[in-house]
Symmetry: C2
Subunit: 368 residues, 2 copies
DNA sequence: GTATGCGATGATAGCGTTAACACCATTGAT
DNA sequence: ATCAATGGTGTTAACGCTATCATCGCATAC
C-alpha cells in the first residue's frame, strides 16, 4: 500500500546530473550528442537517466534551442479517408527525420481553422502542411507572418502561393466524365456539395462540365445535397432528387465513394439496374469500393504519397537543400473502372508529369 | 517585390509591450486574464497584438506556468473508425475546456508505443488517454512515474489499474453469439485475428466461446487470418478458409465490419446466400454497414461518447473535483440486427449500468 | 488627515533546457 | 621545455513566458 501521495514534481536533468555526479550540460550532451561525451561518463549518465525514468521536457528544449522539432498539419477532417492517409504519409516520413507531427482538425469550419492555426503556430512548428487550402484571409496573413515553409496539398490552385503537392482536381473531373462519354453516355449527371464549401469538389465539377461541353452534351443534370464531407445519406437523397427530376439520366459522377454508395442504395431501392440503367462513378477508391455489389468505379488518389512527398520537401527545405519557389508537384491519379460502369476491374493512370500524354491502361494488380 | 529575406525572429510579447507602451506582464495579463487590466490599457495592448499578428509561444508559456494545457492520447491506429470517433469526442470536449489534444498513433506496434509515449510525456501532458491498453511493462512504468491521471478506453480489463471508460468486450462477443444461437443456429464460427496482437478481439472471442459452451454447442469453428486491424481482404481469406474447412457452418461472427464485408464478398463469389445459407455479423457498425447488400448486422459502439466521457473525467480530475479511484465506466453497446442475419433493421441495447438487466429492444431511429 | 483597502501596473525571478564559450588536462610537435 | 591543438567538462546566459510580490495611486472610512 505504499502510495506516494506527494504532488510529484517531475524529474529534470538536474536530478539526473546529481545522480550521475556530472553537470547539467553533460546530461544534455549525453542525450543529444553522445559522441561528444566520453564513454565512461556517457554510461554513467545513461544509467542515471534510466534509473530515474527521466523524460526530457521538450518544451524547455524547444524554447532553448529555438527548434521545436515539429511540423503542423491543418486539415478539414480526419474522417476523410484520403486525408488520413496523407497524414500517415507525413507522420511516417517526418518521424524518420526526427520530426513530430501536430495534427489540427478543423471540421470543415473556417472559424475553427483560424483559431486552430493560431494554436498550431503557437507551438512554433518549423513548417506547416495545409490539406485542402486555407480559407480565411486572416489565416493567410497569420501564415505569412509566421515565415515558415508552407506546403499545400490536395488543393490545386491555378497560381500557387506556396509549394503545392497533389493532383489536378479539374483533370480528375474532366477525365472521369470523358471516360463516361467514351462509353457512349450522353446524359451525365454530377452529384456533389454544390453550394457548400468545398473548393476541391467544385474544381472537379468544373472539369466535369468542361468535358460535357467539349462533347457538346447537356450539362444541367446536377444536384446539391448536404455539405462536405459528403456522407452516404447525402448520396441517397441526392440520387432520389436526380432520379425524380432527370429520369433520362444515364450516368452519374459522384463527389466521393460515400456518396456513390448512397446512390447505389437508392438505385437498389428503386430497382434501377446499375450499370445497365445508370452507370455510377465515385471518387477516392475507398477500401470498400471494389467489394460492393456492383463493385464501384472510382478514382484512386496518391493520398499517402502526397504526405510523403510533402514531408520530403519540408525536410529538404529545413536542411536548406532546396530553393523555395512556388511550384506544382503533380502526383497524378488513376481511374479504376469497375462493374458500376460496366467493366471488369482495370485502371487508367493519369500520370504526373505529362498532362497531355495519353493515359496508361492496364489491369489492376491484385494486391492493392 | 518587397521581400523580407531576413531570418525573421518571431514576434514576442516584448514587441507587443513596446508597441503598446506597457510592461511584459501587462501583455501577458491582457491575453490571459483580461479582467485584471483596465479597459483602456487592454484595448491598447489588443490593438498592438493584432497589429503585429502576435502569437504567444505556448511552449514558453507552459514552461513558465507549469501547465502545458494539453492532454495526450495514445492509440493503436487512426485508421480504425471507432478510435477516430473517440478522438473526436476527446478533442471536442477538451477544446471546450481550453485543452488541446496530442495524438500519438503507434500503428499497432509495441515499440512505437513506448517511444511515442516517451515523446508524448516529453510534452508534459496533464493527463493521458489510452485507447486500447498499454502493452509493454516499460511503458507502464514510464506512465506510473509520470504521475498524471490516466484513463483507459476501449480496453476492458478485469481489474483496472486506472479509470476505464468503454464497454465489456466479452459481453459484446457473448451477446452477439447468444443472439445467433437464439435464431436457431448451432454451428457458429468466429473470424478474428486470433494469434495476433489484439486483446480486445481476444476478449470478444472469449465471450463468443462462453456463449457457445453455455448452450452446449461446438466451438471449434474459427480461423485466424491477418492481424489487427483486420482488413477486408483478411475477411475474404478467412471466409475462404472457413468455408472450405467447415462447410456446415451456419453463422459467422466477425472481428469487424471490414472483415464481414470481405466475408460477404467471398460468399457472393461462391454463390452462398446470406443469410439463408450463412448468417453474418460484424462489429463496429461502420457507416457503410446498413447500406450493404445485404445490410450488415453489427454492433454499435459508443465511440464518440467514450472520448467525451474520458475528457470529462479528465477535466474533473484536473479541477480536483473527483477522487481518482480506479473504476469502470460502462457505456454499453447495441446489437443492430439487419439482413445479413435475416432481420429488418432493429436494435437491442445492452445498457451501461445494469449488466443483468434484459436488453432494451426497438426499431432503429432512421437518423443515426 | 491618517489609515485602510483596492485596482492597476511594474520589477524580478524563475520554469528546464541548450548555445556558446571558458576552462583544464593531456597530447604531440617543435 | 614551450606552445598549440584537442577532447572532455563545466559555467553562464539566454529562450519567452508567467507567478509572485512590490509599488503606486486613488477612493473610502473614521
Amino acid at each position: 500500500m505504499s502510495r506516494k501521495a506527494s504532488k510529484a514534481r517531475s524529474i529534470t536533468s538536474r536530478d539526473v546530473a546529481a545522480l550521475a555526479g556530472v553537470s547539467l550540460m553533460t546530461v544534455s550532451r549525453t542525450l543529444r550528442t553522445p559522441d561528444l561525451v566520453s564513454p565512461a561518463t556517457r554510461q554513467r549518465v545513461e544509467m542515471a537517466a534510466r534509473e530515474l525514468n527521466y523524460v526530457p521536457d521538450l518544451a524547455a528544449g524547444s524554447l532553448s534551442s529555438q527548434r521545436s522539432g515539429h511540423v503542423a498539419v491543418l486539415l478539414p477532417s480526419l474522417r476523410h479517408a484520403g486525408f488520413l492517409r496523407t497524414v500517415d504519409g507525413l507522420s511516417d516520413t517526418l518521424r524518420e527525420h526526427g520530426y513530430h507531427l501536430l495534427i489540427g482538425d478543423c471540421y470543415y469550419s473556417v472559424e475553427q481553422q483560424r483559431e486552430l492555426l493560431r494554436m498550431l503556430l503557437g507551438r512554433r512548428p518549423e513548417a506547416i502542411v495545409l490539406i485542402s487550402g486555407l480559407d480565411s484571409p486572416a489565416a493567410q496573413e497569420l501564415l505569412e507572418r509566421a515565415a515558415i515553409p508552407v506546403i499545400e496539398t490536395w488543393h490545386w490552385p491555378d497560381k500557387p502561393r506556396n509549394r503545392v503537392v497533389g493532383f489536378s482536381q479539374v483533370e480528375v473531373g474532366r477525365s472521369m466524365s470523358e471516360s463516361l462519354i467514351a462509353m457512349g453516355h450522353t446524359r451525365i449527371g454530377f452529384l456533389g456539395a454544390l453550394g457548400a464549401f468545398d473548393p476541391n469538389g467544385e474544381q472537379r465539377r468544373q472539369g466535369h462540365l468542361a468535358a460535357l461541353r467539349n462533347a457538346g452534351l447537356r450539362d444541367d443534370i446536377q444536384s446539391s445535397v448536404g455539405k462536405a464531407p459528403m456522407a452516404i445519406e447525402d448520396g441517397v437523397k441526392g440520387a432520389a432528387q436526380l432520379l425524380d427530376r432527370y429520369p433520362e439520366m444515364q450516368a452519374l459522377a459522384c463527389a466521393s465513394d460515400m456518396t456513390a454508395l448512397g446512390v447505389l442504395h437508392e438505385c437498389r431501392r428503386r430497382a434501377i439496374s446499375v450499370p445497365d440503367q445508370l452507370a455510377i462513378a465515385g471518387f477516392g477508391d475507398f477500401d470498400f469500393a471494389r467489394y460492393l455489389q456492383p463493385s464501384l468505379t472510382s478514382v484512386r488518389l496518391p493520398s499517402y504519397r502526397i504526405g510523403q512527398q510533402a514531408a520530403e520537401l519540408i525536410i529538404a527545405t529545413i536542411n536548406g537543400e532546396t530553393p523555395p519557389p512556388p511550384s506544382h508537384c503533380n502526383l497524378g491519379f488513376e481511374l479504376i473502372h469497375r462493374q458500376s460502369t460496366g467493366h471488369d476491374e482495370q485502371f487508367e493512370a493519369y500520370s504526373s508529369n505529362a498532362p497531355d500524354a495519353l493515359p496508361t491502361r492496364g489491369v489492376l494488380p491484385h494486391d492493392e
